[in-house]
């Protein structure tokens, strides 16, 4: 298998913890992993992205070529659109539907949604509302991960186990909240 993933959002939204869970699941399956991250000068409030590649064969490039990403997982709808040139024609966008407006020229929300609707495979979810309704306010990003499970090509149980290992030292309550979030996301991908 080989899955090229672009994780994106606005600095501070927690895309790297999604990457950590995917990386842990892939590592446990003895898959090859490359993950190019964004560090450095204050990125909070700015656009951030990470290229995550997992494969059963050795991976050479740390960066994903244009038109070849299998999945874009985005914590913000306009940010998902930013990386469209990297998305394969058969690729999936899994994105939060809630805009994060911290710039004066943010486009009309309807325009953003219309642009997303033009993509063949899209799942948009109001993950913050879902998290709030289910009383797991800090696990919104894991709902998105659950919704991306099929597109990622990783078995659901393996993501569950990765969550247990990644969040285990934070206690059962945190693990349970994230497992619940994963399940909510899984339901949404149907």
């Amino acid at each position: 298998m080989k899955t090229d993933i672009i994780l994106c959002g606005v600095g501070g939204q927690g895309i790297l913890s999604i990457a950590t869970v995917i990386g842990e699941a892939a590592m446990h399956e003895n898959l090859y992993i490359k993950q190019a991250e964004v560090h450095g000068m204050s990125q909070r409030g700015g656009d951030v992205q990470s290229n995550l590649r997992i494969s059963s064969n050795p991976i050479h490039s740390d960066l994903i070529a244009k038109g070849s990403a299998d999945v874009i997982i985005s914590m913000e709808p306009m940010e998902a659109l930013r990386y469209l040139p990297f998305l394969s024609k058969e690729g999936w966008i899994i994105t939060s539907s809630k805009p994060f407006v911290n710039i004066p020229n943010y486009p009309e929300v309807d325009t953003v949604m219309a642009d997303l609707a033009k993509v063949k495979n899209v799942i948009t979810l109001d993950i913050e509302q879902l998290a709030k309704d289910n009383e797991i306010p800090r696990s919104a990003n894991v709902i998105l991960l659950g919704a991306a499970q099929k597109a990622l090509g990783i078995e659901y149980e393996k993501l569950e186990n990765a969550i247990r290992r990644v969040f285990g030292r934070k206690g059962d309550a945190v693990v349970d909240a994230n497992l619940k979030a994963l399940a909510i996301g899984k339901e949404a991908q149907r």
Binding site: G11, G23, H39, S42, S61, F86
Partner: protein
């Protein structure tokens, strides 16, 4: 043991497992995580590895050289522009040579994700006559650290390890050793006069080090990191250095049809390059950074070889490489994805909400409102974002610490101007022209003495108060 490590972390773990005794560094993206990793490492704590952030790259380099003098293995880390700051001890460490292994780790930032320029540290290695390594994968970065220390101790020279952003800040699975090597014993190099670079000693050392270059080149020819992989199609050969090799391999999942020379150890393995230019009609040179190899291969003398690369436009002249740049250079089709979306607006980084720098810039702009030609000399850090809207508060950012010194010079220029004015009697001496000319502060004091507070008549006609008082008044109800 398999670990998922950032390139920086693989380097740090590699140094620890190679028997590191001390790391000295000045933080800078993309090098910072190396020292942080060592500082938090259990092994480093157990062994009490000396691990220090230093005043600047120069003092870090000197501390590491001192440790090497005593026979221990030392590491010094910095970003590329930091090598300018420590150029003096770096170049002269090539003259003194080393005792314990010394690795100078420099992280370059092509495409300037977080830097002022995209200088390529391999040039420093060449003119300081210091052997240079450039890993292409995280695993190679880990393995190379031990080899770098061995090389350093065998040739008694420091080793420059050059990485770039995509190596430093990308994670991969790395196989690490179960048992770390022991540290070196203290071993003071008692009879070595070459640590005293008096001209008499340095002249002898210069002959020795210059004489070593042929041996260093032969080591590069035989290096396990420099590979010549023959291919069936000799219409072209590809030289790929460091992580450019990855992008090349990404283009050919079933193997590259052309002969490939991967270079990860310098001085340049000229023998291998001559083989390629002899056997192939054309040569494409792909390197992450400036056209260092390409320039040297091209030279100035006309030859038969057709050389393609950054200097001829097959690859972009500036900026980091990526798989698509290589595809274009190799004449391969670039995959068609979706068209870019025109509705997407840029979202630049901003100072965090509640950051103290926001208040500083707000206050600064308030004070400077009445001085239309005021120039503010800024510095390097997230506060450089004060250049961006809504603050637009600084007018320079050049290098670490340049704000005060540039402000001195700028104020000095105003002093010259004022003298000239006096000399030619072109202007009446105005009270606000009589500043000391040595600093912006001096001017500010002079101006303050002769003018009312900037906010005096404009915002507080009822009696006047300072901006701080105004702020307190305006926001009294906020609490």
């Amino acid at each position: 043991m398999r670990k998922l490590l950032l390139g920086d972390e693989a380097i740090a773990q590699g140094a620890l497992d190679a028997g590191l005794s001390g790391v000295y560094a000045y933080p800078g993206t993309p090098s910072t995580e190396i020292t942080e990793y060592i500082q938090n490492s259990k092994l480093a704590v157990e062994r009490n590895v000396h691990r220090r952030w230093c005043t600047n790259e120069k003092t870090a380099m000197e501390a590491a050289l001192g440790m090497s003098f005593m026979g221990k293995r030392a590491l010094v880390c910095m970003k590329h522009v930091g090598l300018n700051v420590c150029a003096d001890p770096f170049v002269n460490s090539g003259m003194t040579g080393v005792n314990g292994g010394l690795v100078v780790l420099v992280a370059d930032d092509p495409s300037m994700h977080s830097s002022q320029d995209e200088q390529d540290s391999r040039f420093y290695g060449k003119f300081a006559m210091i052997p240079t390594l450039e890993p292409s994968t995280q695993q190679e970065a880990y393995d190379m650290m031990e080899k770098a220390y061995e090389l350093s101790e065998e040739v008694c020279l420091p080793v420059l390890m050059r990485v770039t952003t995509r190596m430093a800040h990308s994670r991969a699975v790395v196989e690490v050793k179960e048992t770390p090597r022991a540290e070196n014993e203290l071993n003071y190099d008692a009879k070595a006069s070459h640590w005293v670079l008096l001209p008499g000693n340095a002249i002898k050392r210069n002959i020795t080090v210059t004489g070593q270059q042929a041996e260093l080149e032969q080591r590069a020819v035989n290096s396990e990191y420099n590979k010549y992989i023959d291919g069936a199609d000799h219409s072209m050969g590809v030289i790929a250095t460091g992580i450019a090799y990855n992008y090349l391999m990404e283009c050919y999942p079933d193997g590259c049809p052309y002969p490939v020379l991967k270079i990860s150890q310098y001085p340049m393995p000229k023998e291998l390059i001559r083989r390629m230019t002899a056997e192939c009609y054309a040569v494409l040179i792909a390197e992450e950074g400036q056209p260092f190899v390409e320039d040297l291969v091209r030279g100035v003398m006309p030859g038969n070889a057709v050389i393609k690369g950054r200097l001829t436009g097959e690859l972009p002249r500036t900026g980091e490489l990526n798989p698509d740049a290589l595809k274009k250079a190799l004449g391969l089709p670039v995959s068609e994805g979706y068209a870019s979306c025109e509705d997407v607006a840029p979202r630049p980084p901003a100072l965090c909400q509640g950051c103290g720098h926001r208040d500083v810039y707000t206050a600064l702009n308030e004070v400077l409102k009445d001085y239309p030609n005021a120039r503010v000399f800024g510095d390097i850090g997230c506060y450089t974002l004060g250049f961006m809207p809504p603050f637009k508060a600084i007018h320079s950012c050049v290098d670490m610490g340049a704000s005060i010194t540039m402000a001195k010079g700028a104020a000095g220029s105003a002093r010259c101007h004022q003298r000239e004015c006096q000399h030619h009697r072109h202007h009446q001496r105005q009270p606000h022209h009589r500043y000391d000319g040595w600093s912006g502060l001096g001017r500010y004091r002079q101006v303050r003495r002769h003018l009312p507070w900037p906010g005096y008549d404009r915002r507080a006609p009822q009696g006047g108060c300072s901006p701080a008082q105004e702020h307190a008044r305006d926001h009294a109800s906020d609490a």
